[in-house]
């Protein structure tokens, strides 16, 4: 069963800005799915429509088989949203915010209080339950929005850049928490700019650009389409006078190392040999972490080139 089915979804804003050009998307129940794309690509508009925060121009959205237009309340009851920007009442306490959200979903007070305690404890916010929300740190505010989104125990959790602006420790703890939620059977759709996040958590991804789904598949499939890999080299020797090496793009790094783009059909033996000839010794080598980002940049580049040819 699909947790989410979108057909021909289009959105044109009142001033004529076309945000979505009739996208189709299916997300299976139980998936941990990533929706990727640059700023202004249409990700947030798509999420806005799915969560009833944006009016669509045309198309259909179905959540666990409930049509958003015809069975609005049933569809809404299935969704939990962690938005990109802080959107809770800054004057209310942590517990009050979670309890109110439970109330909007019709969860009786006593049951809501139990669930609020459970999720606030799981997200490390129980000690802060009586604190006014504006006094929380950035990471705590993000976690509060996750607790709020989970209090009605949705079957589909949508997170719009949930770890933006939080430190790596908080980010990792949130990843573990989301993996646990997904294991419990909650379908998760994630948009993110930290692309290693998608690589680490998600099996399937869709890439959206200029309001269209331009790629759709598993993370592995998408990475296979990447013809160039980027390596970070730690080196010794004088890199200032480094001569260009044909077939490779080499950029010096601020830490004295080198960043090298290696086409897949070139290999690295000739690169090492050339560097050695120029008196540079490679001490260590690692894959640059954001391969998906690289893929995305190349994808956008490819699209631009084909548009120019056309």
């Amino acid at each position: 069963m699909n947790a989410l089915s979108i057909r021909n979804l289009a959105k044109t804003y009142p001033r004529g800005v076309v945000a979505l050009r009739g996208i189709d998307l299916d997300v299976e129940a139980g998936e941990f799915f990533a929706l990727l794309g640059p700023n202004g690509a249409g990700k947030s508009t798509a999420i806005g429509i799915i969560t009833s925060l944006v009016n669509k121009s045309s198309g259909t959205v179905s959540v666990f088989g409930h049509d958003l237009d015809r069975e609005t309340e049933a569809a809404k009851a299935c969704i939990g949203l962690v938005p990109q920007e802080i959107n809770f009442n800054q004057f209310e306490t942590v517990r009050q915010i979670v309890l109110n959200q439970a109330g909007y979903y019709g969860i009786p007070r006593r049951q809501a209080a139990q669930r609020a305690e459970t999720y606030l404890k799981q997200l490390g916010l129980w000690e802060k339950r009586d604190a006014v929300s504006r006094e929380l740190s950035g990471g705590m505010k993000r976690r509060l929005m996750i607790a709020r989104a989970l209090v009605h125990e949705p079957r589909l959790l949508i997170l719009d850049e949930p770890t933006a602006g939080v430190d790596i420790e908080v980010r990792r703890s949130m990843w573990h928490f989301l993996e646990e939620i997904n294991r419990r059977g909650v379908t998760i759709i994630l948009t993110t700019h930290y692309l290693e996040e998608a690589e680490m958590l998600c099996r399937n991804v869709a890439v959206i650009n200029h309001g269209e789904i331009v790629e759709y598949g598993t993370v592995t499939e998408l990475l296979h389409k990447l013809h160039i890999e980027t390596f970070v080299l730690t080196v010794s020797g004088d890199t200032v006078r480094l001569e260009p090496i044909e077939g490779y793009t080499i950029r010096p790094r601020a830490d004295g190392g080198l960043e090298v783009e290696v086409p897949k059909d070139h290999g690295v033996n000739r690169l090492f040999a050339e560097l050695d000839r120029q008196g540079i010794e490679v001490l260590s080598m690692r894959n640059k972490a954001n391969r998906l980002e690289e893929f995305f940049l190349r994808l956008v580049e490819r699209q631009r080139e084909s548009a120019e040819v056309a």
Partner: protein, 259 residues
């Protein structure tokens, strides 16, 4: 899984409790000022100036203005509560908490209106208590008085809701109260009987909806009114119908709350 009725009941209670908690938490800003203003009105207009004005419609001037002053407080507070609360909800974007939830639009309107009515009536009670210090207050038709107060609070809560939907800045939520609501209220017979006006202005005053509410309320307390009570009720109900429908249609379209 709760039934739709249970879910809606809990959601409605949640909105109302949230609204009541909000205005009681900041009672110094929301409840107290009307008590002080009323005491000043009654002291200066009712006590000092009123003694020279003499009787109006067979009542002392102090007694005559008390219903209007109570109604003034109900109108401004019910309107002010909803306009500031709902606009604040939009401004801080926590309106999204409601929009994503399975809460029908009519319930959102009803919840905010109930909050506005609650504040209007709480302040109305306070003002009535203050008035009781200055005059021997008795109610000719107590149930009618309560009904008119409640329905008027509904009308102005709906007005505040509509104002908040269209408002794009904090300036926009003060324009209507300052330039429309206050003049209409003061010209709505709070401090005088329209029989004192020239014939043209008497007729012109009949276009002011607040006149009907103030007079109906005065009828409930003193038993006197410049206009027929049935007409007052009809006009109030028409306003509730029209403003309520407008609020629902606008919310359905997402005016001011969805892009």
């Amino acid at each position: 899984m709760p039934s739709r009725w249970q879910r809606n009941r809990v959601a409605f209670e949640t909105i109302v409790i949230k609204e009541v908690t909000r205005f009681t938490r900041i009672w110094v800003q929301t409840i107290l000022p009307s008590g002080i203003t009323t005491a000043l009105y009654l002291l200066i207009f009712g006590g000092l100036i009123g003694q020279r004005v003499g009787e109006m419609d067979g009542h002392t001037y102090m007694d005559y203005i008390v219903p209007g002053v109570i109604m003034l407080a109900i109108i401004t507070n019910s309107y002010g509560n909803v306009v500031s609360s709902f606009y604040g909800t939009k401004f801080q974007r926590h309106i999204e908490e409601l929009l994503i939830a399975p809460v029908p639009n009519w319930l959102i309107v009803a919840g905010y209106v109930a909050g506005g009515v609650a504040r209007g009536l709480v302040v109305g009670l306070l003002v009535t208590a203050v008035a009781a210090v200055f005059t021997d207050l008795s109610f000719e038709h107590p149930l009618l008085t309560l009904l008119i107060a409640t329905l008027t609070a509904v009308v102005f809560s709906l007005g505040g809701f509509l104002n908040a939907m269209f408002a794009r800045s904090f300036d926009d939520i003060s324009i209507v109260p300052t330039f429309v609501l206050t003049p209409l209220t003061y010209l709505g017979g709070v401090f005088y009987s329209i029989t004192l006006l020239a014939p043209f202005w008497q007729v012109a005053s009949l276009a002011n909806p607040i006149l009907y509410m103030v007079n109906a309320f005065r009828y409930g307390i003193l038993g006197v009114s410049d206009i027929p009570i049935v007409l007052a009720f009809a006009i109030i109900l028409v306003f509730i119908g029209v403003l309520g429908a407008a609020a629902l249609i606008l919310l359905e379209r997402g005016v001011g709350v969805k892009s």
